[in-house]
Structures are given as C-alpha cells and as structure tokens.
C-alpha cells in the first residue's frame, strides 16, 4: 500500500515581482486594465517559473526516502505540497495517514502563554486531539526538561528551553508520515542530532519518512532509497548510494578526482568557473582520501572568461552532520592577492592533517571583489583510518573531529595520597 503517491505534480511560481510580494488595489486595477488588452498571464505581470515539473513518486508505507538535490531544485516546494501548505498547480497527491513534520517546531507558540498552555495550543495546531495531548503531557514535559517552569509564560524561557519544549511537542505527534527538511531545522548541532535521532526512531517504527537534506552522510545512513531532484524534475531514483553518487558528479566520486561541471551541488547564482577538484598526496599522486597526520593537497582547476580581480578561494570542511570545523581560505592564509583570468589552477596544501578519520564534506567558494563567483556544496571528502599514532592500533570511530598530538606517561608508585 502506498503511503504517498504523487501523480504528475507541478508547481508554478511567479517571480520577477518578488519585491512587491503582496498586491495592492492599485496594482490589481492596473492589472485588470492591462488584462483587457493582453492575455491574463501577462496582466499578472512577472515571469513564471516551474518550481516542480511533472513529479511522480510512490512511497510505500514504512519506506524512508531521501530527497537530495541542489538548492532551488524544488525539494522544499515538494515538502510544502505534501504537507498541504501550498497547492500544486497541476497533478495530484494522495496521502494515507496523518502527516507531521519536524520543520514545524514551535509553530504557534505564543510568548504570553505558559508552557502548559502552549503545549495544548501547539499540539492542537499540529493536529493532536486534546485527549492525546493530555495522555502525553507528562512525557512531553519530561522530554523537554522544563519541569517547574511549566506554568511560566514562555517569553521568560531561555532560548534553549523554548526550543526543547517546541521540539518535545512535535516529537510526540507520532504521525504516520513524517516530513523532515533539514535545512529548516533550527537549533544547534546537538539539537539537529536529536532531530535526526528522533527521525530514525520513527523510521524504525514502521512509519513513512521523507527526508530532505544537503547532508549526504545522514541521507546515506538513514535512507535506503533516495530520489534526486534537479531543476524541478526527478532525475534519478533508486538506491541511496547510487543517487548520491550521481548527484555529486558521478563517475569521479571516490577516485580522488571530481568533475565539478557535472556536480549538481552548485549554489544558485554561481558561474561555472570551477571545473575540477583533485586530491593529491605530498608526492603529487592523486589519492581518493586524506590520511591523518600526512599532507593533503586540494588541486582545483578553473576557467573564467572574465577577469576576476581580488579572487580568493575558500575550502570549507564540514562534518557529516553539517557542522563546519575548518576552513582553508586564501584571503587570510596567503599574502598574495590574485587576479584570475582564463584557465587557472589553485593548489592548497593542508599540512599534517589533524582530522579524525571519518566522512566529511567540502564546500568550495570562489569570490572576487565583486562578490561570490562560484560555490559548490557537499563534495564528499574522506579521511581514512590509519595507524596515526604508530601504536599498531586503529582509532575507534567517533573520537571527535580533531586529532590531537599527544604523549602519555604512566608512572608506577607515584601520585595517590
């Protein structure tokens, strides 16, 4: 039985009039006057774009489906249609079961009302019955860890308490279909991790989950299946690994060389200047991953038809959970100010790599005096396990992100009292 079936859904937005987001009577009158002369569409003004084009998708009950794709591909629009916030322009969607989403955290909280009052109000907004809220009330309060502040107006809460309470209510909704848009998930990393943890609980409980994320590592670990959205269309569908591979530029991924023109992870407004990323070791050999304690060189080829004066390149390293942990930035780490034109190659060597083994992602940002030129997100980057400390032992996973240089000294018969 399909929990979600999407049949030929398209969504059209009007752009070009974004600055006057809402209409005025004067505008409507002018539009109506123009409408007498031209076609209706022209009278409405602005240019139309299709945020989604003919999307068809079936998700079976209990499936956990990842949705990946570059910014502006229509991922959020799709979730908005599924959660009935906005209507499709064409096509239809059939949903079986209650829909909830973790992007609604804190919606409808009123600062003047107490925690207790807000739990009931927010629960009702999310579609819970009063009896259901009453049954789960204690659990929610426990989960939120707000205890004796339950009868205090939430405007006096710390932001941490506020978010915890909001999340606690959303987390106890127990929808049959859960929609998660990670980009919209607020809060710090530990909170986002809590969201993801809750999501995998839900997924294991036989519910249907749709997960939108830029974070390939979490999509890969949570979703067996994924679809790739590009330009409002589904361009790939299938096993998550393969879809992600396709998204990140396919053929080159994992081989130490990426064709950046094929990657779908380019931010909107980027010029396609950066063309190729290569990882090399200290001897100049192309390697698929970095080794802790050794040098790693990022070699980036690009080509720009225009002169880019004051060019700077940033290589940002993010954890699998999307937290930025390091940045290599030529503006601050190099004394040269460069102007680039035509073909160029930039080399950045990170000496003595102090990253713990594990999966990371890279973000490349090329800027010039005039602003952002090219930006590519979510390139895979792996630091491989190795015997870093020369002890003959591998580090277990999840020791953090930073690889400290340490020495230990144990002495017998000293210390104590």
């Amino acid at each position: 039985m399909n929990a979600i079936s999407v049949e030929g859904v398209s969504k059209r937005y009007r752009i070009g009039r974004r600055h006057d987001r809402y209409r005025t009577i004067r505008g409507a009158i002018a539009g109506a006057a123009a409408g007498l002369l031209h076609r209706r569409e022209a009278a409405m003004g602005g240019e139309m774009i299709w945020a989604l084009r003919d999307i068809s998708l079936n998700v079976e009950q209990g499936d956990v489906l990842g949705i990946v794709g570059p910014n502006g591909a229509g991922k959020t629009t799709l979730l908005k249609i599924l959660s009935r916030i906005t209507y499709p322009t064409e096509g239809r969607v059939r949903l079986r079961g209650r829909v909830g989403s973790l992007l609604e955290v804190g919606t409808g909280f009123h600062p003047e009302l107490t925690g207790r009052e807000n739990i009931f109000l927010n629960g009702a907004i999310l579609g819970m019955r009063r009896r259901e809220i009453r049954e789960k009330f204690d659990q929610i309060v426990d989960f939120a860890e707000i205890g004796r502040f339950i009868d205090t107006p939430v405007k006096r809460y710390s932001s941490g308490m506020y978010v915890r309470l909001a999340f606690a209510v959303a987390a106890h909704l127990e929808p049959e279909i859960l929609l998660v848009d990670e980009v919209l998930a607020v809060g710090d990393v530990s909170f986002q991790r809590k969201c993801i943890g809750k999501m995998s609980d839900v997924a294991r409980g036989g519910r249907t989950v749709l997960f939108v994320s830029h974070n390939m590592a979490s999509v890969d670990s949570l979703c067996p299946r994924a679809v790739l959205l590009e330009g409002g269309r589904i361009t790939a569908e299938g096993r998550t690994r393969e879809v992600i591979q396709r998204y990140l530029g396919g053929v080159g991924a994992g081989s130490g060389e990426l064709n950046l023109l094929e990657t779908g992870a380019r931010s909107p407004g980027s010029r396609r200047v950066l063309r190729r990323l290569r990882l090399t070791d200290s001897s100049g050999k192309v390697v698929p991953h970095a080794v802790p304690g050794e040098d790693i060189t990022f070699e980036i080829d690009g080509e720009s038809a225009e002169l880019l004066s004051g060019a700077a390149l940033a290589i940002r390293i993010n954890t699998a959970f999307g937290q930025r942990i390091a940045t290599c930035h030529s503006r601050y780490q190099s004394e040269e100010t460069v102007s680039l034109e035509g073909a160029f190659r930039v080399r950045c060597t990170m000496r003595n790599c102090r990253l713990m083994p594990g999966p990371y992602t890279l973000m490349l940002v090329l800027t010039a005096d005039a602003g952002m030129v090219d930006q590519i997100d979510a390139l895979p980057f792996e630091v491989v396990e190795s015997d870093v400390y020369g002890t003959g032992k591998m580090l277990p996973g999840r020791c953090g992100y930073y690889l400290p240089e340490v020495s230990w000294d144990f002495q017998r018969g000293r210390g104590g009292s």
């Binding site: 005025t24 916030i85 009123h110 907004i125």
Partner: protein, 283 residues
Amino acid sequence: MNGEKKDRSSGDVSVQIIEPPRGWLGVNWREIWHYRELLYFLTWRDVKVRYKQTFLGILWAFLQPFIRLVVFSMIFGRLARMDSEGFPYPVFLYAGLLPWQFFSDALGRSSQSVVGSANLIKKVYFPRLIIPLASVGASLVDFAVAFAILVGLMLYYGIVPGAGILMVLPLVLLTVLTAVGTGTLLSALNAAYRDFRFVVPFMIQIWMYISPVVYSVRKLPEPWKSLLVLNPMTGIIDGYRSAILGTPPAWGRLGVALLLAVMIYLVGTHYFRRVEAALADIV
C-alpha cells in the same frame, strides 16, 4: 475500546487528496468539524492573550461596553434626545449596541487575523477558515460578558421580557453568520490587498452610522427606512430590540437580513477559499 474509537475518528482524514483548487469552493464543514479542537484552542488563545497582563483582566470585556453605554446615553439620549420608541434610552440603546459591538469587534479582529497568522500558515496545514472563525469566536466570548449588562439594565428599568426574548438565540446565530461572512471576506481581502488594513476601520465606523444603533429604524422617514434594509445589520439590530423590548418583530426586515447574511456568507467563504489556495505564497 479506546483505540478503536480513535482509529475511527482519525479515519475521516486518513486518506487525503491534494489537488489544485478549482470550481466553486464551498466550506468543507466536515473538515472544520474535525479540527474543532483547534478552533477551540485558537479562540481560547485569542481571549486569553487579549486580557493577559492587563491589570483588570477580563473585566475589560465588561467595562468597555459599559463606558460606551454611558457615553452614548449622554450624547444621544440626553443631548440629541433620540426617539427611543417610548423606552428608557439606555435600554433601547444597549439592545442595539450589544449586537453591534459584537459584530464590529468580530470584523476588526477577523480582518487582521489571517495576516497576523502568517507564520502558522507558512508552516502547518489546517483549514485556514479556522483563523477568522476563531476571531469571531473570541468576540462571542466578549459578547456573552457584555450580555450581563443588558440583564442588569432590564432589572434596573423593570422591563419584563416577553416570549419574544426567545428570538435572541436565532438572532445571535444570524449575527454570527453575518460576522463570519463579512469577517472571512475582509480577512482574505486584507491578505490579498494590504490596503484593507486602512479600509476596515473606516468601513466599520461608517457601517455603524448606517445601522440603527443609536436611533430607531422604525422612526425614520421613508426613503431612508427602506434603503437601510439593504444593510443586514438593520434587520438584525431591529430584531434584537423587538425581542428584548417586546415590540412586534418586523419579519420583513428580518427576512431580508437573513437573505443578505446568507449571500455575504457564500461570497465571503468562496472568496476566502480562492485566496486560501495561494495564502502561503502571499502572506
């Protein structure tokens, strides 16, 4: 047993079809019924938040109409000496002021309600009509409080209600219908055209002068007497008065008011539903 019941209640919306809206858009009252608890909570929130942190609290719902009663009685009763069909002016006035207050308050609140709930609308689905409905509901609570003053006035002036007082209940329903129709229309217009933020207060003020709040429609000279019937509040206010003061009801005026109220309701909700489809994209 409990579980079974729960399943059946959620079964109503267990399969949802999402399609582009088209054709005549009526109100899906079944869905509104399903979301009745949300309506209750939003109404309750409106009432609660309105009087929270005020020193006098809910007493304001009592004081406001009372002060208005005193001031209006002075101006229109003592100074202008309005014809009050032979009844003490304060009772005559209040029988009209009571429904008018409710109506204008409901209009004022609901016209702002949708724009004011933008963050809800952009993040979670529920029938949007609940928002202006909750505003009308909150005004109804104030109305109930203000009703106590009427009881006091009738006791004070020794007016014994006749069987006609039973008409008050259907009249309240008729006022709610008119308020819901007008309120939803204005809330949608305000979302689509922000100009209405300035239009509504004016409109309410002018509407009061063309409604027989401080004067009697029965004592008006002819062209006006018939013209004013086109305002649904004329029949409604006159109806309240005859129910409370025990004068014979003007069925014709009431009939026209009912017809107008139904028309406004149909137009208002249809327009609301049309704007609703695009609401998340425009608020």
